[in-house]
Amino acid sequence: MSALRDKLRAYVIENYLFGQDGNLSDADSFLELGIIDSTGVLELVSHLEEEYGIAIESEEIAPENLDSIERLTRFVMRKQVPSPESEGAAS
């Protein structure tokens, strides 16, 4: 999980903060900090699908899955290894 989180964190910092982390914590909300706009969300979804080989449903493109490094990490983990509980769930 730690390696995945670090990789996602590096992507967010490189692509949305231009390499300067600005003390971004793993729990910080991208929305509240104004880090990612609607085009940024599209970029993020494309990146996750291509980099991690996952298919993201429209219902899953929600802040509860994508709005912080913590949430992103949990979401990608869940999508990569679907469990019976999470299969078919929106979050």
Partner: protein, 329 residues
């Protein structure tokens, strides 16, 4: 401060006569006084905003000092030109039609757009129509993600979620349209020594619903401080033709009819107007919700969207920035 009791469509009501006089005086000051230009060019789309702008400029400068320009292209609705001409007739103002399709062909606007669409819909081609849409912002707590609606030649309609590459490709291509139009407006401004009037209303200006150096470019923007419903009030006062008042606002950018709500605001314009007003006057989202028939969560989402679009629009509104000021100019 509590705004619930006051927040209704009546909240935005203005004294249309007084506001018209105030704007007209300011237009004269800007065009004649500051810019030393002899009149104004207005690109008229047959929509409410450009029509009101044309009427205001004619009121301010005189009908002989305005020039209306119609710039249809291959995807334009025929209504746009017909209604635009109605404005010119009503004002008895000079006008010209400049079809910008050939300019757009030259820039490969349509080809680039179609190639971007084919990233997701390989069969897209001749005879197909399209538009880009947003989901209803009030429906759930998802991000508002663009989709493209495709209509095949045999009228089969399908909706496909856009990825970043396709979305940016389509927008970058279709933005040629607004830029080609603006280029033509400045051609006439150069010919006539006129200034170019921009036509955004407050919602569009604040939320970035314009193309930088396209319809966002102008020498002055006489209705950028007015909420959409106030533009309608002025339109009625100024005598804008009834058919234009009744026409639903469209983007007139895509081959399928596309409302502004579908493309940008995700909320009916009247509600969007009041939400923006409420937010601007620091009314808590919960109070705005009660007045607008929304849930507090929905109003919070609209407030968050306003902030998000405002941030994104900062770049669009910015004039070129210098490394240091040049004092002499």
């Amino acid at each position: 401060m509590t705004y619930t009791a006051a927040l209704s469509p009546a909240t935005l009501r203005i004294d249309a006569g007084r506001e018209t006089d105030r704007i007209a005086s300011r237009i004269r000051d800007i065009v004649f006084g500051q810019f030393k230009r002899k009149g104004a060019v207005i690109g008229v789309s047959g929509g409410i905003d450009s029509s009101v702008t044309a009427f205001l400029c004619a009121r301010a400068l005189g009908k002989d000092r305005v020039f209306l320009l119609f710039t249809p292209e291959a995807d334009s609705s025929p209504d746009s030109l017909r209604l635009g001409r109605m404005v010119a007739d009503a004002l008895q103002a000079r006008s010209a039609v400049e079809d910008v399709s050939a300019i757009l062909e030259g820039a490969r606007c349509y080809e680039r757009r179609d190639n971007a669409i084919r990233e997701l819909v390989p069969e897209y081609g001749k005879g197909y129509k399209c538009k880009i849409v947003l989901p209803d912002l009030l429906d759930g707590s998802r991000y508002a993600i663009f989709s493209i609606v495709i209509q095949s030649p045999d009228n089969q309609v399908r909706k496909v979620r856009l990825n970043a590459k396709a979305y940016l490709g389509i927008v970058a291509a279709t933005n040629f349209k607004q830029r080609a139009r603006k280029m033509m407006e400045y051609h006439y401004a150069d010919l006539l020594q006129y200034a170019v009037a921009g036509t955004p209303n407050r919602l569009e200006y604040d939320q970035g619903f314009f193309v930088k150096n396209g319809d966002g470019a102008a020498d002055f923007k006489p209705i950028a401080h007015l909420y959409k419903s106030q533009v309608y009030e002025l339109a009625a006062y100024l005598g804008v033709p009834e058919e234009i008042l009744r026409r639903p606002p469209t983007t007139d950018t895509y081959s399928l009819e596309q409302s502004q709500e579908e493309f940008y605001f995700s909320l009916p314009l009247a509600k969007m107007d009041l939400c923006l007003y409420a937010k601007n006057h620091r009314a808590p989202a919960a109070e705005a919700a009660a007045a607008l028939g929304l849930t507090p969560e929905q109003a919070e989402r609209v407030y968050a969207m306003i902030d998000s679009k405002r941030r994104a629009a900062h770049y669009l509104r910015s004039a070129p920035l210098l490394i240091e000021p040049i004092e002499e100019v």
